[in-house]
């Protein structure tokens, strides 16, 4: 592995304290272009907090962020966008009651001249959104006027990713993009993540699903109680080891034994 090249983003000793509780505690990470970094960890481990730091929603309590080696605070979502960091929250960035062609372009509307006025070019917006969605394999969408809320969870997720890619994101940050999706739709989203990576984007993926993580991940970081517990490249850990780590370091086998015991003890009392 050539760890010599400069990462696009380096997170250095970042902590984030919420009223005395350290949601992030001295976390350091490197995010490289053309790689998928999977952020793993139990509920409340601090994954979303880390993502919000990258998205400009939170300022770190301590520690710094570097972009291509230079120290660079990310002080607002606008800042993050300017640096090419595009975050897709669960169902976020889309507006259920807006037409897809409107939602896709919020904040970045294409315009055309109309006499002395500059107007929103809805026709162009519709064409682009249909083309981009088709390119991402969502061929069912042929009309940009469809309301976002009428799309399936996967289609919405894809539209949010398509938006980020279309507007030239260099870093794609995805918080549990497959959490609410069925098998087929998850597979589709994962395929699009691979596409983005192959185009040279850096991808940060938060997921609870070990299979999904192992399918697309190049590098993995595990957070436990706001601290980085482990950090490894593809192939350096077995599936069982990763699962253990995600359960907060507690051996999954122990947990399973415990569960078996509980359900075994519970049976006699419910049988009559």
């Amino acid at each position: 592995m050539n760890e010599k090249r400069t990462p696009y983003i380096s997170v250095e000793n970042v902590s984030k304290v919420f009223g005395g509780y350290a949601a992030l505690n001295d976390v350091s990470l490197e995010i490289h272009q053309g790689e998928v970094l999977c952020l793993l960890g139990d509920n409340g481990a601090g994954k979303s907090t880390l993502i919000k730091v990258l998205a400009g929603f939170h300022q770190p309590t301590s520690g710094i962020i570097r972009i291509e080696g230079r120290e660079q605070p990310i002080s607002s979502p606008r800042d993050a966008a300017a640096l090419g960091i595009s975050t897709v929250h669960q169902f976020g960035g889309t507006f259920p009651l807006m037409a897809l062609e409107r939602s896709f372009f919020v904040g970045m509307e294409p315009t055309k001249r109309w006499g002395p006025f500059k107007v929103f070019d809805r026709k162009k917006a519709g064409e682009i959104v249909v083309r981009e969605m088709q390119a991402m394999g969502i061929t069912r969408i042929t009309d940009g006027g469809r309301l976002v809320g009428s799309l399936s969870g996967g289609e919405r997720q894809v539209s949010a990713i398509a938006r980020a890619v279309f507007f030239g994101a260099k870093v794609l940050v995805l918080d549990e993009p497959t959490a609410a999706l069925g098998v087929k739709e998850s597979a589709h989203v994962l395929r699009i993540i691979m596409q983005a990576k192959n185009r040279g984007l850096a991808v940060v993926l938060v997921t609870h699903n070990v299979t999904h993580a192992m399918t697309v991940g190049d590098h993995f970081a595990v957070l436990i109680h706001g601290m980085k517990a482990d950090d490894f490249a593809k192939g350096e850990r077995t599936r069982a080891e990763i699962t253990d780590l995600m359960a907060g370091g507690e051996a999954m086998a122990e947990l399973e034994a415990e569960l078996a015991e509980l359900s075994g003890a519970g049976k006699p009392s419910t049988s009559d």
Partner: protein
């Protein structure tokens, strides 16, 4: 081909049905008085006046806010105009713009307080409604020692803001048409329209997408302040006097017109065309009642019921609009219990600290 199904999914469709219904209703029970030009002018005048407030208020509501202060904004605009011209004797050319500016300024204040304090616009504008009413009363009494100020309206203002066409149709109808064109233009044709929908849909996501949400909110409150003051000065120009208690009823009238016009109370959805129908429905009911020979109290009952039906049908239409248009759907997404759908709520709290 006329696509009936997609037409019924448009936000203004239910509003149109409502207007048609009350029109036929009163044409039937109020026949033949209801179709005389005097009665038509009666409800058109009411609609035009209300429309000047309802249209900008609709934008505020599509953006997910409420403006309950329009009653006092109207009085403030009207009184400013009346005191400057009627009491101090300055020309209309100073008094009228000053009235508009005062309404717009207090609208600006609404927006500023809402965006800076993150309090709900319901409370902020309710405070403004009462606070500003007190201020208007106090200032008017202190300067003029009355609560009613008469104005000698100049010919120029009478022929534009005040006055009537053929002695029946108020010039306010022309202002209403202009207001409707401007508001529709903003919402449909400009990029700001997209920002307004996004703001009402999900403020945090809109901000994340780069929409200057605070600035848009402030502009929208300035718009409803301007609309209220515009009606204020128009009424002064029409009746030749201003009263401190004027306009309070428009607080609820405007909300009724907007909601009956198909705008969702939660924001993010609605159309100016729908609001025009909603405004007409309100006006037809409140004026049409006089041509039936019934007691006018019944109008309130009808309006109350209409409002309830409108809210119910708005929800139904929203569901219809959201239902996928094609039947062949892949397996439905199952929400996972431990995922975090409240992601944005957390963010919101966090950004407030």
């Amino acid at each position: 081909m006329l696509d009936l199904k997609s037409m019924t999914r448009r936000p203004e469709f239910a509003a149109f049905v409502g207007t048609l219904f009350v029109f036929i209703f009163f044409a039937y029970f109020g026949w033949p008085t209801f179709v005389t030009s005097l009665v038509i002018a009666g409800w058109l005048n009411v609609a035009a006046e209300l429309g000047l407030i309802a249209l900008p208020v609709a934008l505020v509501m599509i953006a997910g806010h409420l403006d309950l202060s329009v009653g006092s904004l109207l009085a403030a605009g009207a009184m400013t105009y009346a005191i400057i011209t009627g009491y101090f004797g300055l020309p209309d050319i100073i008094g009228l713009p000053a009235g508009l500016a005062v309404g717009t300024f207090f609208g600006f204040l609404n927006g500023l307080i809402v965006t800076k304090t993150k309090l709900s616009s319901f409370i902020v504008t309710l405070s403004m409604l009462f606070g500003l009413r007190g201020l208007v009363f106090g200032v008017t009494r202190l300067t003029t020692s009355t609560v009613l100020v008469s104005v000698e309206v100049s010919e120029m203002v009478r022929s534009t803001f005040g006055g009537r066409i053929y002695k029946t149709f108020e010039n306010a109808i022309v202002l209403w048409v202009i207001m409707a064109i401007v508001v529709s233009w903003i919402l449909y044709k400009t990029i700001y329209g997209n920002w307004i929908f996004a703001l009402g849909g999900d403020e945090t996501a809109a901000r994340a997408a780069g929409v200057p949400t605070d600035r848009v909110t402030i502009w929208l409150f300035m718009g409803s302040g301007f609309g209220a003051a515009l009606l204020g000065v128009t009424q002064v120009a029409l009746f030749g006097s201003a009263q401190v208690s004027a306009g309070q009823s428009y607080v609820f009238y405007s909300i009724i017109a907007v909601v009956v016009g198909g705008v969702l109370l939660t924001g993010g959805y609605g159309s100016p065309v729908g609001v025009i129908f909603g405004t007409m429905t309100f006006a037809i009911v409140s004026q049409g009642i006089y041509s039936t020979g019934w007691d006018s109290d019944w109008a309130s009952l009808i309006l109350g019921l209409l409002l309830l039906v409108a809210v119910l049908s708005n929800n139904t239409f929203r569901r219809l609009a959201l239902s996928a248009t094609d039947k062949a759907e892949t397996p439905k997404a199952k929400p996972k219990p431990n995922q975090a759908p409240s992601e944005f709520t957390v963010t919101k709290e966090a950004t407030n600290e």
